[in-house]
Symmetry: T
């Protein structure tokens, strides 16, 4: 059985700047330990409010990566 199998993990990225930045941060941190990442799917968007202003963007995403045959 040689068809490709992918694993999906769930991360929450945070950023003071933007939604895209929160996502990119999570993907890039995952890249430290995971190879062959292929796609992500946004699951939830939240944020922290401090003193009546948005202080942090929080995006939860699933990241899919190809498992390597052993």
């Amino acid at each position: 059985m040689s068809d490709q199998v992918y694993k999906k993990i769930e991360l929450t990225g945070t950023s003071e700047k933007s939604l895209e930045d929160a996502i990119s941060g999570a993907v890039e941190m995952a890249a430290d330990t995971i190879r062959n990442m292929r796609w992500f799917e946004v699951v939830e968007t939240r944020g922290r409010i401090v003193d009546g202003k948005v202080a942090q963007w929080q995006v939860t995403l699933k990241i899919g990566f190809a498992l390597e045959q052993q």
Copy 2:
């Protein structure tokens, strides 16, 4: 019973500029009348189209704030 209780309200922010701006606008307008806001959750993202272009970003979010003991 002294555990903290939070209330959540639902707002739709709009902006001609960006999704983040629509969210920030809703949070900042809420800050005029609500204290102790802590977090928001995005529930829906929509927009208005005029003359074949995106004319307005509309983001519906829930905002959670701490109720003050009376």
Copy 3:
């Protein structure tokens, strides 16, 4: 029966720049063939990852437009 009827189509826009750009691209391409577009609703946000970085933002949206009486 003269009440307005709207049709909704589903598109996926892509962009290397931002979520807003992916949405705008889909709306503007649809404008080539569809008149009277009024609103969009975001259904799903995904993206492609290449070499451990976000390489493409992908936003699936529904676009509503007014049907013309025949």
Copy 4:
């Protein structure tokens, strides 16, 4: 930041007559205290059964109204 912000509240209207009547009743009661209502969205439809017959239509809806700049 002068873009319009909307608030959404959730009401359950009831009627012995019809689904439309339950919705209208909730909207009209809200009109006693809320200005600038623009739209509603049905969230849930239920009802009470008495003696083997539908005795009450219950429709839960969200109502969106424009917040006024202060």
Copy 5:
């Protein structure tokens, strides 16, 4: 343990007249064999189209009724 327990069954009512009529029909037919019905919840609304017109309204609902202690 004497607290009340309710059972819920799922029915689809149909009618050529209206949504309310489809619901009432299902409730009244259930009344032939079930006692102590208390409430219903609409789960799905569909219909049949014949010759370009709505020919039948179909509403799927759950009906809750009190179980009798044995």
Copy 6:
């Protein structure tokens, strides 16, 4: 491969009168250009509020129709 295939389109019907009328209007307008329509499914019910009263019923539905073998 001669098994029947159906296509589903998504429309939003509107009416000042009732929910059923909004659905019927969408189905009948679709009948101008589409043959072999068989069923519809309600996806969303909304409405417009003007001067504190329901001014328009809006029902989004999917319509399924049989594709003709070419």
Copy 7:
């Protein structure tokens, strides 16, 4: 009120062979006691794993059948 009413029951079929077989098994067992079954809807697909292999396919489905006028 003579419009047809349908009842829906929920079953989980199991099979060592395939998803279709798990569904067919549930339908055929239901046929022992229920007449006038018309359609099914798949609600959930699961399975049991034994010794690192799929050992059983489990499909939960709703079955709709016509109630007979009494």
Copy 8:
């Protein structure tokens, strides 16, 4: 076809004491008439409020039981 088939029924248990007690009550009442119950799934948690206090816990659950070959 000898693979096991399960049926699922939906009950709402109530209790003045706790969520667990509402669930147990429903399961134990079902045991009066149903054999071979194997598992339950919580679908909804609600409750009644009287005089500003929780007066009743209400838990809706699905119960799965093995059907016996005839």
Copy 9:
């Protein structure tokens, strides 16, 4: 139009003790300012973890209360 209308608000109760306690705390705090509360519905259950142990139960619920005719 004299049919009863209910309003629903969304609160998050917290407790160090139990899920029921988090719900009761939210209901009882709401009772300080809201009359005629009738029911609640649990929407989400979360919690805080400190030093590898559950430190706080957090339950988000909707509370329905009867609006008084003006």
Copy 10:
């Protein structure tokens, strides 16, 4: 703006043989009129029951295809 845009359509394929066959049939019929199809997503699985047996597998799927720049 030259980023790729995709359109998604919704079809229901049917087959007397298997779930895979119902999907393949819908994809292949779509191929008669649509170019550049890239992926599908299963949205719903249903079927027809005749004489106590599964008589038809019905799978509703969304098909995504690349729009060509004009």
Copy 11:
């Protein structure tokens, strides 16, 4: 990019005693190998029934923990 990133894992805790105990058990077992756990979210509540009584509470939860910069 120094913004905090969180990872979420999914566990199912079981207990013969209570829902809270099933959750606590999962959190505490996770603490053996995971540092910096911050929150959990309940995704599903089920249980096993033996001899007509609830024999085991099963709660599936997601646990979020802070990833450490490398």
Copy 12:
């Protein structure tokens, strides 16, 4: 606290042959590194289309396995 705890991971299996084969492939590859797998749940079914035909079945599933006490 000796009650069993399970972990769930999310995989996407692919196959040119069938849905069952895509699931089995994911389960069997997971068996290379994970012991005590007990069940799977299908979360999403998709596929790739090449030259107007289904070229690959893709099934995303969650796999539950028992954690071993340390």
